[in-house]
């Protein structure tokens, strides 16, 4: 797998967020735009993930989140996440990230405390899982840039569709 220096990635992401804030000026709009960009990345990222990781089909939501946290994050961001905090029905969990390459040199200024800086990650997870028929809602529960100890993404399963064969055999 080809790799590049992670700092150029971090700096470029910072540049993107800066451009968005300058253009849009409204922090909720910036959060939404980051989520949309992440979603667009996610729908294409899932193809590469499935091709390169050659995993078998996941059995249930627990398995999917484990794959996202362990294989997915390692493949693209070279860092692992842990899956914790399952709710009793098994439909909600938290992905805990200790070090996040996107926020290496970042500090949020006073006026931007509502900015979800890594919202693009939420969009990527949402987009990627949607392409395999798992609808989730993804949000940041804890954010190191806002003073918490670690990054925590809360995943809520909304529905799981069945795989439908897109072509009709008798046509």
């Amino acid at each position: 797998m080809e790799t590049i220096n992670s700092e150029i990635f971090t700096l470029m992401y910072g540049s993107i967020v800066r451009q968005l804030i300058t253009d849009l000026e409204d922090i909720t709009e910036v959060n939404k735009q980051l989520d949309t960009m992440g979603y667009n990345i996610g729908v294409r990222l899932i193809d590469e993930f499935l091709a390169k990781s050659r995993t078998a089909a996941c059995t249930d939501f627990r398995d999917s989140t484990e794959k996202v946290a362990k294989v997915g994050f390692r493949m693209f961001l070279n860092t692992t996440a842990n899956v914790t905090n399952w709710n009793p029905e098994g439909t909600e969990c938290s992905l805990v990230l200790e070090d996040n390459p996107l926020t290496d040199f970042v500090e949020l200024p006073e006026g931007c405390s509502k900015l979800k800086y890594c919202n693009v990650l939420c969009g990527v997870i949402r987009g990627a899982l949607e392409m395999v028929n798992v609808q989730v809602e993804c949000d940041f529960a804890k954010d190191t840039l806002r003073g918490d100890e670690l990054n925590e993404i809360r995943l809520k399963l909304i529905s799981e569709g069945t795989e439908a064969y897109p072509f009709k055999d008798d046509d």
Binding site: M1, L11, S15, L20, N40, L77, D104
Partner: protein, 232 residues
């Protein structure tokens, strides 16, 4: 002992900020900086970003993550502009803000106490150090243009920035390495050599793909200052 070394490093870093960077000013004089760092660390559990030691810069991220993010940036910029020139300008501006910050960090990591003040030295810095940081190797060529003596060119082929980008016919000569050109412009500007930097595709005889050339046109003030310096 360890805190001594790290606090000396922090003082050195603060010294670099105060002396080198025209963009950040610090109101505190140097000798009280160390005590204020200690005070800040005492009152907040986690060290402030500026007080944490600087990483070695060896961690890696997959090329596909970068390419996905870069493609999103290009797509977003396309919605904000109306022609190719503006798109290149936006990519360059994104790279410019990176380049400004990159010079500080690279100089600190190089542990160079002297700044380059000659044009050729600055170009060599871009050609070797910056390129090695960005692409893992030195750039292929550094040449001076025949037509004008304020133009210099750095060429390279197969920049990873362009690896997964195919430019459609109606976009003409768009080169997404305008991003890299912006980084170079930021580095040169921060070092005190203002220039206009652009990226072009130059076909190479005998190779199927053209190479990318970063063209730097320096301001007249830079050349005047350079010729006034004692050479050698």
């Amino acid at each position: 002992m360890r805190s001594d070394r790290s606090s000396r490093r922090r003082l050195a870093l603060a010294a670099i900020w105060l002396r080198k960077s025209p963009f950040q000013t610090s109101e505190q004089p140097l000798n009280s900086l160390a005590s204020s760092i200690a005070r800040r660390a005492m009152f907040s559990g986690r060290l402030n970003l500026i007080d944490r030691p600087l990483s070695k810069g060896k961690s890696e991220v997959s090329l596909s993550a970068f390419s996905f993010l870069f493609s999103e940036m290009v797509q977003y910029s396309q919605t904000q502009v109306s022609n190719i020139g503006e798109l290149e300008r936006r990519l360059e501006d994104a790279g410019y803000s990176i380049g400004l910050r990159l010079l500080e960090m690279l100089c600190f990591r190089e542990r160079n106490s002297k700044r380059e003040i000659k044009l050729l030295d600055a170009l060599k810095f871009v050609h070797s150090t910056v390129w090695k940081y960005l692409f893992g190797r030195q750039a292929r060529d550094l040449e001076q243009s025949n037509a004008a003596d304020d133009e210099y060119m750095i060429s390279d082929s197969d920049l990873f920035v362009n690896k997964f980008i195919s430019v459609p016919k109606d976009m003409g000569q768009l080169n997404c390495a305008a991003f890299v050109a912006g980084i170079v412009r930021g580095v040169l500007d921060s070092a005190g050599f203002p220039a206009r930097v652009t990226a072009h595709f130059v076909p190479v005889p005998g190779q199927p793909r053209p190479k990318t050339t970063i063209l730097m046109k320096f301001d007249a003030s830079v050349l005047q200052r350079d010729s006034a310096l004692p050479s050698g």
